[in-house]
């Protein structure tokens, strides 16, 4: 199913939560909505689900205006951040809730339940009490509950937000495989850059209720729209001058023993080593290397920058641009 947001705005108590958001999601496309907390991502998702009426603009599904269709007639699935499972029903009761209120017959309900539970890898957990599930299992049940409705569009609100470490990565991989298999239209909200890049065909960056940039992960990484986006994606070497900012990619910064700068700190992050160096003119730069042997903190070094890793972006000053 195709989803279109036509200049959607939401104002609550005089505050603009979502401001003129226009975006199309093709059938089978996976869109990640990425933004810091308070940027309006969850509200945008609630507008799509029909839980929040927009104060302006329209929501279209396959070209049909559903702005005023209540959530229970939209056929859009939503997985909440903390699962929101019904505590008075077991796992099957939760997954079978949608088919039941839709009035499907017993056989069809059985089929939907077992199908959905199998999809999320919980085929034998049907009778379990919801309270005994782990965080990851609860999230899988919530996903199965939405899938059992065979929704045209699946919405995920920080689905991995309450999980940590390896569990998070595993569910992320499972989600990606599942989406590819079902070729579902997915809108997925997160504040985590890695998660957005892993699960989104395209990534929409939301900032103070407005779209800052919509692009594929590669495009985003290659050309951030402005210095705020660059910083949000994790780039640190940004120098503002007037209305332009110069961004230097850390992998383009080469460091070797010599003169002109000093290593301030060294942090290992898995296979990467982040070196923070201060040049004698006082400016600081971040360098990333995969070398096992590298200068240590306090050593004098020479810094070289590959010109291909340096580019200019507009400055975002918070008031004018969007």
């Amino acid at each position: 199913m195709r989803l279109a947001l036509d200049h959607v705005g939401v104002t609550l108590d005089g505050t603009r939560i979502v401001d003129d958001v226009a975006i199309d999601v093709a059938a089978g496309e996976r869109l990640a909505v990425l933004g810091p907390s308070g940027s309006g991502k969850s509200t945008l998702l609630r507008v799509v689900a029909g839980l929040q009426a927009p104060t302006s603009g329209r929501v279209l599904l396959d070209g049909r205006d559903v702005t005023h269709v209540p959530p229970y007639r939209r056929g859009v699935g939503l997985v909440f951040q903390d699962a929101a499972l019904f505590p008075h029903r077991d796992v099957e009761g939760n997954v079978g809730f949608g088919p039941k209120v839709a009035g499907l017959d017993e056989d069809e309900r059985r089929t939907r339940i077992s199908e959905a539970l199998a999809l999320v890898g919980l085929g034998d957990s049907g009778q379990r009490v919801v309270g005994t599930l782990s965080g990851g299992e609860a999230q899988r049940v919530a996903l199965a509950r939405s899938l059992a409705m065979r929704p045209g569009v699946l919405l995920l609100d920080e689905p991995l937000g309450s999980l940590d470490g390896p569990l998070r990565l595993r569910l992320q991989d499972d989600l990606r495989a599942l989406f590819e298999r079902l070729s579902l239209t997915v809108v997925h909200v997160t504040h985590d850059v890695g998660e957005a890049f892993a699960l989104g065909d395209r990534v929409a960056i939301l900032r103070e209720g407005r779209l800052a940039q919509v692009a594929t992960p590669n495009e985003l990484w290659a050309r951030p729209a402005d210095d705020w986006v660059a910083r949000f994606l994790g780039l640190r070497n940004i120098v503002r001058r007037g209305d332009r900012a110069t961004v230097t990619r850390p992998e383009a910064v080469r460091v070797r023993p010599g003169q002109g700068a000093i290593v301030v700190s060294v942090d290992r992050d898995g296979p990467l080593v982040h070196l923070r160096v201060r040049r004698d003119d006082g400016s600081e730069l971040e360098s990333v290397t995969t070398e096992a042997v590298h200068p240590g903190a306090g050593e004098r070094v020479t810094v070289e920058v590959e010109p291909s890793g340096v580019f200019q972006v507009p400055v975002w000053d918070g008031a004018t641009s969007g």
């Binding site: 029909g50 229970y72 056929g75 699935g77 909440f80 019904f86 008075h88 949608g98």
Partner: protein
Amino acid sequence: MDRDRRALTLGGVATVGVPVAFLAVFFAWPLLAILERSLVSDGKLDLPFDVLTRRSTLDVAWFTLWQATASTALTLVAALPLAWALARFSFRGRALVEALVLVPFVLPTVVVATAFLALLPDGAERTVWAILLAHVFFNVAVVVRVVGAFWAGLDPRLDDAAATLGATPVQRHLRVTAPLLAPALASAASIVFLFCFTSFGVIVVLGGIRYATLEVEIYNQAARLFDLRAAAALALLQLAAVGATVLVSGRLERRLGGAASRRGPAPRPIGRDRIRVGLAVGCSLALLALPPLALVLRSLEVGDGYGLDHYASLLDETPALLVVPWHALLNSLLFAGAATAIALVVGILAAVAVARGRRGLDALLMLPLGASAVMLGFGFLLAFDDPWDLRTSAAIVPIVQALVAIPFVVRSLVPALRALEVRLAEAAAVLGASPWQVRREVELPLLARPLAVAAGLAFAVALGEFGATVFVARADRPTVPVAIFRFLGRPGADNVGTAMALSVALMVMVTAVALASERSLVGRGSR
């Protein structure tokens, strides 16, 4: 969307409008009637200073105050060991103990008083001590519940931290636990004080002619001496005192909010704590069991032996009542059933409104609780006279009982309604459930247990209601508490015996209802 919003607004009007209208007619109006009777005579303002400054009024006010204070202090002392044991430890049968402790609280006051008549030896039965003990028996549950829940929520690591800092057990109790518990203690104390201050059934039975609280004096003036102006003036005085207490306790309760949080399962007691917990639980249960046991035994005493004669006498005509005694049982069940229905309808609507954040309504709904039963009954007597004579109508008893029960319904439903998560309803809506289906499939099942508790509580309260019912029940349709009161008011061992048999019957009914509804709470391991 517009249609949904209009339906919501209509619902909003009903949830606020129905309870407000009910209270306006059946609470505010009777109250105004009392005001009018006490402040106005012959169309002119006439303040009842003469009544309020009477020697007898001052005596009654003083007794009311000091017996309530003494009862509260004794109740706190008696209840704390059990509160400690239930808050800090888990042990076999704890759920049962918790349920049993609640039973005295739902027992009708008249039954409690009769039980103490049965328990105490001749000569001790109509003394101040009998009154104080009955109040303690009745209110231990309040302290155990309020303080115990708060205590269980206190982080035990605070105590551990104090211990590692070198504090002895006594120091830890005085400097850590006591200050932390203070708001809960104050809150429980003010509730108990309120109950004892407005105590009626216990004192009218155990106080004889020597002791009277304001509540009893209102009844005496209105129903025995027919001095309605004096009764109204006393009611005004009582209302002022109750209002002050409610204000103070409300402030304390607000400070209490949020401090308690639920923790994991409590440990089993080990070492010396085993003995302490055993003693606390054992002694408390024994003391709480004594009066009901005495009541049962005395109801079976016939001459020098035992028999069912007193129960058999429930089937015989008697000069004490216009009807055969067992009809009172039927009346009670019918009235209580109707009262429960009314209280549920009004209470559920009101609870929904309160849970949606209408705090003003919350305060309004608690008023009948503070205004005291006798005042309600007396107000009904004044308000529903000509030309609105409802007094001969059978509906008046369930209405007044519902009024007394509504605060309990609201109180037990509001927390459950507040705990209903909006996201569950949203999740259901996204899965295709219409608002009606959300209510039926998600919210109602989640509210089933609190609703059962509310209904059970309302039924138990209505069954035992005495202070208001005694004013409005017609002589040919007495309820059980009223019948017990009539029997106790007549001389002769047989009348006392019949009163005890009736008390046992009422006790069994109320306990069964209370335990059945509480079980729906305790069962399924909610703790």
